[in-house]
């Protein structure tokens, strides 16, 4: 039986792991390859490396990091952060990345998704969407790491992304990110029930009950978290044991 995936996310800046709460206040949490290998050994099903480096050296350092990761880690991994061209993606895949995620660049140029799907197949194209629930009751798409609001509704953009060839949606609720109070169940459920492709829920996971409800109630195919793993608040083997005990399909 296909299992629900637990995905630690490692935010990378200048080759080191960091994690922001509500996208600010970065804290250092170690070496990405060492941390990734540890998570893989503990039973992580996949890893996401999100590069938030903004320097001109970015492409080179990311390429080198991806090369190190792919030599050191025996589970699939996704690389994202500032990816804006077929050429960027080609280089990262050649260095061993399994998937890449696109966010702001894909929103500004949706044909990028189509081009990536044609060049590499939808299985390696993850569309990352940062979204916020506003007072009018709608979920809006945000860009640039949550700093720029758009008028586009999350569900509309997700549907367009899938129609253009995205193979998975990585959905981050900005309302929930960093709170450890649970995932955004309603928007996750809306997407996972209406889209043909897997949905990875992100933002708000603080304990095993939160992961259980996003799988059971919202139908998420995978759930992603960062700081609870980096700061050892939740251990992956304990999390997976508890989810399995609740009857969820979990790889152990």
């Amino acid at each position: 039986m296909l299992t629900k995936r637990i995905i630690p996310c490692l935010d990378i800046k200048d080759g080191r792991t960091v994690k922001g709460t509500n996208f600010v206040d970065l804290r250092d949490a170690g070496d990405p390859v060492e941390l990734g290998r540890l998570y893989a050994e503990q039973g992580a099903d996949e890893l996401v490396f999100l590069d938030i480096t903004a320097t001109v050296e970015k492409r080179k350092t990311l390429r080198e990091l991806v090369n190190r990761i792919s030599h050191g880690i025996n589970i699939p991994f996704t690389v994202g952060g500032g990816i804006s061209s077929v050429e960027d993606v080609s280089v990262l895949l050649q260095h061993g990345a399994d998937k890449i995620s696109v966010n702001t660049a894909a929103f500004k140029n949706p044909a990028l998704i189509t081009d990536l799907e044609k060049s590499f197949g939808s299985q390696c194209v993850v569309l990352a969407i940062d979204t916020r629930l506003e007072e009018d009751g709608n979920w809006y798409v945000y860009l640039n790491g949550g700093r720029t609001r758009t008028e586009r509704l999350c569900t509309d953009w997700a549907k367009e992304g899938v129609a253009r060839g995205a193979g998975e949606i990585l959905l981050t609720s900005m309302n929930h990110d960093g709170t450890k109070q649970g995932f955004a169940l309603d928007i996750t459920a809306e997407l996972s029930r209406s889209l043909q492709v897997p949905v990875i829920a992100s933002g708000g996971g603080g304990n095993a009950a939160h992961f259980a409800e996003v799988f059971e109630k919202a139908g998420a195919d995978a759930a992603l978290a960062a700081s609870i793993f980096h700061f050892k608040e939740v251990a992956i083997p304990d999390l997976k044991a508890e989810l399995a005990a609740r009857g969820l399909p979990i790889r152990r």
Binding site: M1, L2, R5, A40, I75, P76, G96, V197
Partner: protein, 199 residues
């Protein structure tokens, strides 16, 4: 011992090479017929679309080269599907090494997404390729098309119905999952192929 990885227009070739390096060996990545024929083991990986991959192989005569290999050959994911007789993906005639046909997933349960992405069990394991691998072990799958169960099935997986996650005929082996991304289980399967299988 020389291992050759078939170089063609399908993704993830490097991932297989890196996985071999992680288990302490290496391979040449080549599309040269002589190098492929003279290697002790050949790995035929691939992620991508069937018809464009077959067209690429045919243009270069690699279809004949692969089908004519006599040493152990391991097809992975698209590689395994291309070793079958036909794929529904753009109605593609494939290499015909395995008579099984490849069809798209059409799960009755609409919550089962296509493609299947993630970790699923492999069961009814029937080959030395799986020596030391427990029944129901988890492997990593990414695919929208699947091979039917047939007389050459050596591993079975359930995704809205049973299909072949492993095939074997004479010197040809195929796995639908990605051993290069399937943690310790995948490394055991790669080791078995490289170091245990002789024919």
């Amino acid at each position: 011992m020389t291992t050759a990885i078939v170089q063609y227009n399908a993704g993830n070739i490097r991932s297989v090479l890196y996985a071999l390096e992680r288990i302490g060996t290496t391979a040449i990545v080549t599309d040269d017929p002589e190098q492929l024929r003279s290697a002790d083991k050949v790995i035929f990986p691939g992620v991508g679309e069937a018809s464009s991959a077959m067209a690429y192989l045919k243009e270069r005569g690699l279809d004949q080269v692969i089908a004519g290999l006599t040493q152990p050959v391991l097809g992975i994911c698209l590689g395994m599907q291309l070793m079958c007789s036909w794929s529904e993906e753009n109605d593609t005639v494939c290499l015909g090494i395995f008579p099984e046909k490849v069809k798209r997933f059409r799960p009755a349960d609409k919550l089962l997404k296509v493609p299947q992405i993630g970790w699923n069990n492999i069961t009814r394991l029937k080959s030395s390729l799986f020596e030391g691998v427990a029944e129901n072990s988890y492997c990593y799958f990414v695919h929208g098309y699947h091979a039917a169960i047939g007389s050459h099935t050596i591993a079975t997986t359930d995704y809205g119905g049973d299909y072949s996650s492993g095939l074997h005929r004479e010197n040809f082996y195929g796995v639908q999952f990605h051993p290069e991304k399937s943690a310790a289980v995948g490394e055991q399967i790669l080791r078995n192929f490289l170091f245990k299988i002789n024919t």
